[in-house]
Symmetry: C2
Subunit: 302 residues, 2 copies
Amino acid sequence: MDQAVRFLDLLFDAGLLIQTGVDGLYGRSGAFEDVLNRVDALATRYGADDGAETLRFPPAMSRRAFETSGYLKSFPQLAGTVHSFCGNERDHARLLECLGAGDDWTSGQQATDVVLTPAACYPLYPTLAKRGPLPDDGKLFDLQSYCFRHEPSLDPARMQLFRMREYVRAGTPEQVLAFRETWLKRGEAMIRSLGLPLTIDIANDPFFGRAGKIMASGQRDQGLKFELLVPINSAAEPTACLSFNYHQDHFGKTWGIAMADGATAHTACVGFGLERITLALFKHHGLDVEAWPTPARDVLWG
Amino acid sequence: MDQAVRFLDLLFDAGLLIQTGVDGLYGRSGAFEDVLNRVDALATRYGADDGAETLRFPPAMSRRAFETSGYLKSFPQLAGTVHSFCGNERDHARLLECLGAGDDWTSGQQATDVVLTPAACYPLYPTLAKRGPLPDDGKLFDLQSYCFRHEPSLDPARMQLFRMREYVRAGTPEQVLAFRETWLKRGEAMIRSLGLPLTIDIANDPFFGRAGKIMASGQRDQGLKFELLVPINSAAEPTACLSFNYHQDHFGKTWGIAMADGATAHTACVGFGLERITLALFKHHGLDVEAWPTPARDVLWG
């Protein structure tokens, strides 16, 4: 963790990230955003010929859809529900009194109908289900959004709010596995073109509790999740910058997404951690983008 | 409101906005996002020669900074606090039981250190204060972020999550008033170049409660807030697409932002409601961007 904290301090000192007083919640400089947007555009170029439908959701989703998604079963500790003040003037006076006295004023806040988006693809599935059966060749979507995970950390690569770019494929098992194979190759080519060292490994999600441990090992045993890892804080514990996930029929079943023949649709996604790839670039090529190696500059600015 | 609901339905039918089951929370199509990004880029072009420092904050800010900002005094009803599950496995089992029974599972959620950003400039002020006194010619910032306001509505121009682009000027009263004058002219030129009808009017913020009514009329009497309005739902009640706000020394005092000579800094901002300008374009020029009038197309795509 020392390495991570040192890198975070370097980023603050260079003004690339801006402290807010909350671990994992940072402002970004124009230079940081410029690199991040160029990484995002690079992911667009790699997927340009696939005919994906572009959708963009805000950084929050319907609470009802969130409840249906099953996220609370697997990752309750990471979710962020949005709450509001719904009282009258007397309640307001009490709230301000609490605030003024340094007491907790948040217990009167009531849950709204929205929850922060945990992964860019979560708002997609109910949308897709509402459209009815998929065509025979399935569907492909292009998504990006800020995502929230409640895991305050001093590791700059573990932010509470970060952007995830995703391509999501829905279709038959063959179609979605072929998609994942393609992106495993493309992702590797993309990150190598930026001059970053990488490994690809089987992985699992951070499922909650003891039952979660069993789910995690099932996920590994079945080879459902792969990650493309780049050393950011240490070579021993490299950071997942891309992930390649085969959901089988999990979302298809959850949402009732069907193929034309009535079979439950399978889904898979490739997710790009845009802040993580950006941080990997600053880590390996230095804090001054003008001094980055020519090949990486050509890929991003060319 | 009928007009607003009809326009919202048209946008859903055309696939430009996507329903999520929550009023004011919508997905956006690729075409919608393309127009919005071009409007954003147009605001960049109008401000390009001013030497603004670009900063981008995530759609949430530190709760402590939010508390200090005074927002809860003026607009408690609009704020969105982020809450998380902080329990153990037994608590988790109870949560899932509530969820399964259709009971309220949210009362156990605890407030985190983050609050959704109510306006793009809110995370800026504490950042600015930490940097110490402003140079003699003050400072200029370029901001953009998703903002949250808890006001569910069927008016497509009143979303709960929307993007606000802002330029914020900090300096002497003369400097910040000159900035506001410049942007009143630029904003008018920008919106006219898009072929949209507009009016500019004195305005006030939606302060909470009876005391809020007095604050609102004080704001109007002093001419602190102007809005550039474009009819979206009706000519009688046009929608604020840009706003021009002179905060006097409100944020300077709140955060201790000082000039080099020790005087409290004044601030002003121009805010662009990116979804609103985009919606105004679709309303006035039609839902098919290919069929928009040539002058507007030249400005955005030229």
